[in-house]
């Protein structure tokens, strides 16, 4: 990223290659909309280019990128509802869980649908912190940088978010 900052814009291609899938995953989990998420990925990298001079180089590119991604989402409006089409999820689930038996597959599909639902019902903050720690495999100190909170706060919130998710999941399941 420092090379990009210093004018070697082609190096951004490498960064895109490395991070665009993860970033897409984050945005998709947050919004549940595939096309919107792809647009946002473009938007994030455009901002990376435009504001490359603001990259201080003291943190990792990854955290800076997520930070920008959150701003992009903010601009789109925090009110974006997760509107994952059930059909899409089911189709995808088949590809993911292909090695299950028929009964188990149906069971798994149900569980995933409930989990999706539960995740959608979580508040924004909890959902975001779960996605960041679970899907993006970010460490607490990285999440702390991205969300501009202390590491201790991350610890507390992740714990609370998991409990909320589990409770919601159980509520829907029963």
């Amino acid at each position: 990223m420092l090379k990009v900052k210093n004018g070697d814009l082609d190096k951004l291609g490498l960064l895109f290659e490395r991070y665009h899938r993860a970033l897409f995953g984050f945005l998709f989990h947050m919004t549940g909309q595939r096309e919107l998420s792809e647009d946002m990925v473009q938007n994030v990298f455009y901002r990376v280019l435009k504001y490359r001079h603001a990259f201080r180089g003291d943190g990792e590119f990854k955290t800076w990128m997520y930070h920008i991604a959150r701003n992009v989402m903010n601009d789109h409006g925090r009110a974006i509802k997760r509107t994952v089409k059930h059909q899409e999820v089911t189709e995808l689930a088949e590809t993911v869980a292909g090695d299950f038996s028929a009964d188990a597959l149906i069971h798994k599909k149900q569980e995933l649908a409930i989990l999706q639902d539960a995740l959608s019902r979580l508040n924004e903050e909890s959902r975001e912190i779960l996605i960041l720690s679970k899907f993006q495999e970010l460490k607490y100190h990285e999440i702390a940088q991205i969300m501009e909170i202390t590491e201790g706060a991350v610890k507390v919130r992740v714990h609370r978010a998991i409990n909320q998710l589990r409770n919601t999941f159980l509520q829907i399941a029963n």
Binding site: G13, H20, F24, F135, K155, H159
Partner: protein, 271 residues
């Protein structure tokens, strides 16, 4: 029984956010605490289930779109810098160009002004003015001559003396003037006028006609003052031709004694 252990440790453990020591301590606790074991299991379940949550593959045109965006951005960046540098270049040209032209203009104007001024000056004072002054001075000269000539015919003696005195201002020797002066010297009734005229004529003594006129005039003088003055002038001019005229004066019997002595001295001086 209620477990006093911090439940947050469960999520730390799941998320691999524990140090080795914390992990070891937590695992020992789990082995002996059914409640925590249950909690951990539930959390793990939901955590693992999340792993199964599908994420669609990104569409293939994403990298293409990214590259297109990058290229467009680079181009716009270049255009921007080009545009900026173009403006800077233009400004620089203006800066270097304008003062240059202004300087050139002003230098040309100053030089032209100086040249025109010099020419006008030269024509004015150097040529035309000089001509004018020459014409004017000659006119003044002529007027003075005329005035002098007319004054010499004035009935008043003082006016005639004034006319004679003008001759000192006349530098060129004019025959008319000299003739007039000589006739004044010979025939003016006033002694003082004749004396002044004699003095005036001595200024023109360089002229042969003046000397001749003076010599001839000696015999015609009757006033002792003028005779004496004539003798002085002749001595001064070392005019040897005057001796003859002076001797004629000595022959006159009514000649003033002092004049006689003077003339005799003059004759000896001249011979």
């Amino acid at each position: 029984m209620k477990c006093e252990n911090d439940k947050e440790q469960i999520t730390l453990w799941i998320n691999h956010e524990m140090t080795e020591e914390q992990r070891a301590a937590f695992e020992i606790h789990i082995a002996g605490c059914a409640e925590c074991r249950h909690e951990l299991k539930a959390a793990q379940q939901i955590w693992q289930l999340m792993d199964a949550m599908p994420v669609p593959e990104v569409s293939r045109d994403m990298p293409v779109r990214f590259q297109a965006m990058l290229e467009t951005y680079k181009e716009s960046q270049e255009e921007k810098t080009n545009w900026v540098s173009g403006v800077v270049e233009k400004l620089r040209q203006l800066w270097s160009f304008q003062p240059g032209m202004q300087l050139a203009y002003s230098i040309v104007l100053i030089v032209a002004g100086l040249a025109i001024g010099f020419l006008i000056n030269r024509q004015g004072t150097g040529y035309a003015n000089k001509q004018q002054i020459d014409v004017l001075s000659s006119q003044v000269h002529e007027m003075k001559e005329m005035m002098m000539l007319s004054l010499l015919e004035n009935p008043s003696a003082s006016e005639r003396m004034k006319g004679v005195s003008y001759t000192s201002e006349i530098k060129s020797t004019n025959k008319e003037v000299i003739d007039a002066l000589l006739s004044t010297l010979n025939s003016d009734p006033n002694v003082n006028v004749r004396l002044v005229t004699l003095e005036a004529l001595t200024h023109f003594a360089g002229e042969a006609s003046v000397r001749e006129g003076l010599v001839q005039s000696i015999a015609q003088q009757e006033s002792p003052q003028v005779q004496s003055a004539m003798a002085d002038v002749m001595l001064k001019l070392q005019e040897k031709r005057a001796v003859k005229s002076l001797k004629k004066l000595l022959e006159q019997k009514d000649l003033n004694n002092s004049v006689r002595t003077k003339i005799e001295q003059t004759i000896t001086g001249l011979i």
